[in-house]
């Protein structure tokens, strides 16, 4: 995958500036929203399994909470930077705004590589992160959630530590918990399904039947897996999937022109979404390089791995056949690449809209936790579908009426909602 030096926060600010211009925002509002409200940088000392100590660096950034408690995941990643977390917290603000849920934007992270950590060491990092930041997060302040390389188990450790510190039960303090331990049914599927809910609506507006389309997907983690699942259920065919080979530390693409078999691939996939190359070959898949996913002759591209993946360097490799790009990942398209995509007339489902299913379901989880009454899966997914569809229609209608690019329309809706909340509170 792309490795070019890239500053996500600068990209987020550039996108915001563009929207602020479109909305003619006043300078004070720009100054407020261009930067996070609060940033915490913490150190987490952990005794490792070999008896040594290692101090991990962690972050929590609260971009804006004018519309409600902050909401955002915690990432464990060896390349984590404060700027990345800043950018992601800002995107969370816009994401909550575009789907119109009463939450603000936050993000957290720890510089670490879980592949090289035991479960005990990961638990110590989780508990240490909470010990450092317990006073600044909580159900009424800022609600963390799983993100890159964190999962329900990590959330449960964090919740446990938080409740130990506060001596109270706060299941709504964190989301993405296991079902039965304060988690919501449907959460696992939410982000991936959300991507495809918006794809479905976009195709409907384009008068294209999902069953007549093909797609190429970057990533094979939770988001990509459930996106592929629902897309297949709607009749679509995924012909290529890019994944990260942890062993060889390289990205690869598996391809099968008659369509990949999701369950078959899941049978040869590790917990981080890495596919066993040899077994895939044995099952009749071609193994291509990691960038091959972007040049497939398909109707839909779904980048659902990391930020900064469709760049000025590789955007030209996108096939002429591609009609739709659905951004399952956060910030997968650089502004330079975005311009090219817009010029080519490819319909884009921007990240803050397309992958908002996760945060929307997290919101549902928090609501359920706060009332300690849990919904059936039908209800969760039904509400998610309605919320996502409604958000899509709002963005699409604005784009059509004002002749805006879809990303710009999503930002306009979201930023204006957040700015209005800041004005209403008398902050600016």
């Amino acid at each position: 995958m792309a490795t070019k030096a890239f500053n996500a926060f600068e990209m987020a600010q550039t996108q915001f500036d563009h929207t602020a211009d479109q909305l003619s925002l006043d300078q004070a509002t720009r100054d407020l929203l261009r930067f996070p409200l609060r940033e915490y940088t913490i150190s987490i000392p952990v005794r490792m399994d070999n008896g040594s100590f290692h101090v991990f660096r962690g972050f929590r950034v609260q971009h804006n909470d004018a519309r409600g408690p902050g909401k955002g995941g915690i990432r464990f990643h060896p390349m984590e930077t404060l700027d990345t977390v800043r950018a992601l917290s800002m995107w969370m603000t816009w994401k909550c705004g575009v789907v119109d849920i009463p939450l603000g934007g936050s993000k957290g992270g720890v510089i670490c590589d879980p592949h090289n950590l035991s479960m005990r060491e990961q638990e110590q990092i989780c508990r240490g992160w909470i010990r450092q930041i317990a006073g600044e997060v909580g159900p009424l302040q800022d609600v963390p959630a799983p993100d890159v390389m964190t999962n329900a188990q990590h959330m449960l450790w964090m919740l446990d530590e938080y409740e130990t510190i506060t001596r109270k039960k706060y299941p709504g303090m964190i989301t993405g918990k296991p079902v039965g331990m304060g988690g919501s049914l449907g959460r696992t599927e939410a982000t991936g399904f959300g991507v495809i809910f918006t794809v479905r609506e976009a195709l409907r507006e384009m008068n294209i039947k999902p069953a007549n389309t093909t797609a190429s997907v970057q990533g094979f983690g939770n988001v990509a897996q459930y996106a592929i699942r629902l897309y297949n259920q709607l009749g679509g065919k995924v012909v290529a999937v890019a994944y990260w080979d942890q062993k060889d530390q390289i990205a690869r693409t598996v391809r099968k022109s008659e369509g990949v078999n999701l369950d078959e691939l899941l049978g040869i996939t590790d917990r981080f979404g890495g596919i066993e190359k040899d077994k895939a070959t044995g099952l009749g898949y071609e193994i291509l390089d990691g960038e091959a996913w972007i040049e497939q002759e398909v109707d839909i591209l779904i980048p659902a791995a990391m930020e900064n993946q469709i760049t000025a360097e590789n955007v030209g490799r996108i096939s002429k056949k591609v009609k739709l790009i659905a951004e399952g990942a956060n910030g997968p398209t650089t502004p330079e690449a975005d311009k090219v995509i817009a010029e080519r007339g490819i319909f884009v489902l921007p990240d803050l809209l397309a992958n908002a299913g996760g945060v929307t379901c997290s919101y549902f989880e928090q609501v359920q936790c706060n009332m300690n009454y849990f919904w059936e899966k039908d209800e969760v997914l039904g509400k998610l579908d309605v919320k996502m569809t409604s958000a899509y229609l709002g963005v699409s209608e604005l784009a059509r009426k004002r002749k805006l690019y879809m990303r710009d329309a999503a930002y306009v809706i979201s930023v204006s909602r957040v700015a209005q909340a800041c004005h209403d509170r008398g902050w600016v």
Partner: protein, 584 residues
């Protein structure tokens, strides 16, 4: 009727963005739509033409707005929740319904159901539309579940839950005991059955905590029970106040010939009429939510008596009043006195020309389909003036009529070896292979035991089923009614081996025969021969002595299974309506 592909091609997919456009019929999913939906869809365009031709200015006729959940959704629900094992098992209906209720609805369509719940606020009928119904061109009325939901809760989430639970209930009803037994009677298997579901607007008006149509009914262009001067082809209409469940379940209705709407059914006395016309009606409960019971078909229904209807003002066009001093029955409710639901203001005074409209609809639909038809309908009257009225065309079904000429040989009255005979037999044909007879013991029969009798009959039926034989069934009152004081409340599955059914009465009984209930209609579609043998006027009374001399195979408290040494011969001449069962 039109070919399937033509019909399906014009069925638009449901689009939540167009909910407000009120498209009359849409579908979710890409599978089959089942018999009920197919029937309505095939007649949709024709109905528009007919409604225009009929030219009743103040009465509109239409198919109430509906959304068909195709069998694709049923398949997805079954597969993803791994429900086939319990579905095909011998589990009780309750267990099956419970397992289905716990299933997760296919996520591709859950958002559409949620959107629907968010946008609709009036009662919805969740109805079955089975694949076999379509494939066999055969009525499955009342075999599968139908659930009405009030859909008036403030919270869209609650409306959504009610709707989803109701859909799952209808899915589950595909595998209820009655349904399995019914399908067993066909040449198909339950494994081939699939269920589409219709979500249909309920036609009616709201009166306080109740929502119901002022009139509902079933009109048939062929009358299986034509008596006296009425010919079968004159047809018959059963009318009821409130929801059509009254008619479907075989409860007391007002049954009349559309060519002679002023002639009452044959009640012996006014007292009989007061007792045996409709006394309660079904309505959707719009009031206080009932106790949560998703596997109860009548969860959201109420069954009040006529005093409530009078308070609602819905007797104005439907009832007459009995004056006990003069002994007269006066149409309307201007006088004080007991009310009788005989629909006289409509049928006799023609204040609202519903009968004329139904006559024309029957005739035109029969011509259109090329077969005798049955139409289920509901009518919402203007609560104040009666008109304008809206007729909801709910269902159209074929009626199976056998035209083979059968002649009964010899003189019945003087003939020996006659078990019983009737001049109001139904069906047409000869069956000469049956040796087993299941009968209710006349000396033990009491109305209060009819539920137990139904259960005992099921056991005897199972015995015959184990031997892979058919039976002759003899009992008292209306078969298949849900009113235990009018007959034996069996469902089709409990008497699945019966190829000849006898509906008898005992001294002191004034129950009229099944009168073309859905139960009866289903029975006759399997070419079951039917005999009505009233104790008062039989062609030949039942030879109980002969029956008691036959070897007993199995006996219960109220019923007996006997096996004659030689097969009996049952003959019914459908033209003369004479029938006879001979032994020896």
């Amino acid at each position: 009727m039109k070919e399937n592909s033509d019909i399906l091609a014009k069925l638009l997919p449901f689009d939540r963005r167009k909910i407000d456009e009120c498209i009359p019929i849409t579908r979710m999913g890409s599978g089959e739509i089942g018999g009920k939906a197919h029937g309505l869809l095939s007649i949709q365009d024709f109905l528009k033409t007919v409604a225009d031709e009929c030219d009743f200015e103040e009465i509109s006729v239409c198919i109430p707005r509906m959304i068909v959940l195709t069998t694709e959704i049923f398949d997805l629900f079954m597969e993803r929740n791994a429900l086939y094992e319990i579905a095909f098992s011998d589990s009780t209906d309750t267990r099956i319904a419970d397992a289905f209720n716990k299933g997760t609805f296919p996520n591709e369509y859950i958002g559409d159901i949620m959107a629907l719940a968010e946008s609709m606020h009036t009662p919805i009928a969740v109805r079955s539309s089975s694949r076999l119904e379509d494939a066999l061109y055969r009525p499955f009325a009342g075999v599968y579940g139908t659930k009405m939901v009030p859909n008036n809760q403030f919270s869209s989430t609650e409306r959504f839950h009610c709707l989803i639970d109701a859909i799952k209930f209808v899915f589950a009803s595909t595998y209820f005991r009655e349904a399995k037994a019914y399908v067993k009677n066909t040449e198909e298997t339950i494994q081939q059955e699939k269920m589409a579901v219709i979500l249909q607007e309920v036609v009616g008006n709201r009166y306080g905590e109740r929502f119901y149509p002022e009139l509902s009914g079933v009109a048939r262009s062929h009358n299986f029970y034509a008596m006296n001067w009425v010919r079968p082809k004159d047809g018959v209409i059963d009318l009821a106040l409130g929801l059509g469940k009254t008619v479907v379940d075989g409860e007391a209705t007002w049954s009349y010939c559309p060519n002679m709407p002023h002639i009452s059914p044959p009640f012996n006395t006014v007292s009989d009429m007061l007792k045996h016309t409709q006394l309660n009606f079904w309505a959707v409960n719009m009031g206080k939510p009932p106790e949560y019971d998703p596997i109860n078909e009548a969860e959201y229904l109420v069954h009040p008596d006529l005093t409530i209807a009078e308070q609602d003002g819905t007797l104005r066009y439907t009832a007459s009043t009995y004056n006990h001093q003069s002994g007269r029955i006066t149409p309307g409710i201007s006088e004080k006195g007991p009310r009788i639901l005989n629909f006289a203001p409509i049928l006799q005074y023609e204040q609202i020309p519903i009968n004329e409209l139904m006559k024309r609809l029957l005739s035109k639909c029969e011509a259109f389909t090329g077969n005798p038809v049955e139409i289920e309908f509901a009518v919402a009257l203007d609560p104040e003036e009666g008109i304008p009225a809206r007729v909801g065309f709910l269902q159209i079904r074929p009626i199976v009529v056998d035209d083979t000429e059968i002649a009964i040989e010899g003189d019945i009255e003087g003939s020996p070896n006659v078990l019983l005979a009737s001049d109001s037999a139904l069906g047409n044909g000869i069956i000469d292979t049956i040796e087993h007879i299941i009968y209710v013991k006349p000396d033990k029969f009491e109305w209060k035991h009819t539920w137990q009798i139904a259960s005992e009959l099921e056991k005897l039926n199972e015995r015959v089923l184990r031997e892979r034989r058919n039976s002759i069934l003899i009992g008292f009152g209306r078969w298949g009614t849900t009113d235990e004081w009018r007959g034996i409340p069996v469902h089709v599955g409990q008497i699945s081996t019966a190829r000849v059914i006898v509906e008898a009465t005992l001294p002191g009984m004034t129950v009229d025969p099944s009168q073309g209930s859905h139960f009866f209609h289903n029975i006759t579609s399997f070419r079951v021969l039917y005999f009505s043998v009233p104790h008062s006027d039989p062609l030949r009374p039942i030879n109980w002595d002969w029956l008691e001399q036959q070897p007993i195979v199995q006996e219960t408290e109220f019923a007996r299974l006997v096996k004659s040494t030689a097969p009996l011969t049952t003959t019914v001449d459908g033209r003369t309506r004479q029938g006879v069962i001979r032994y020896g």
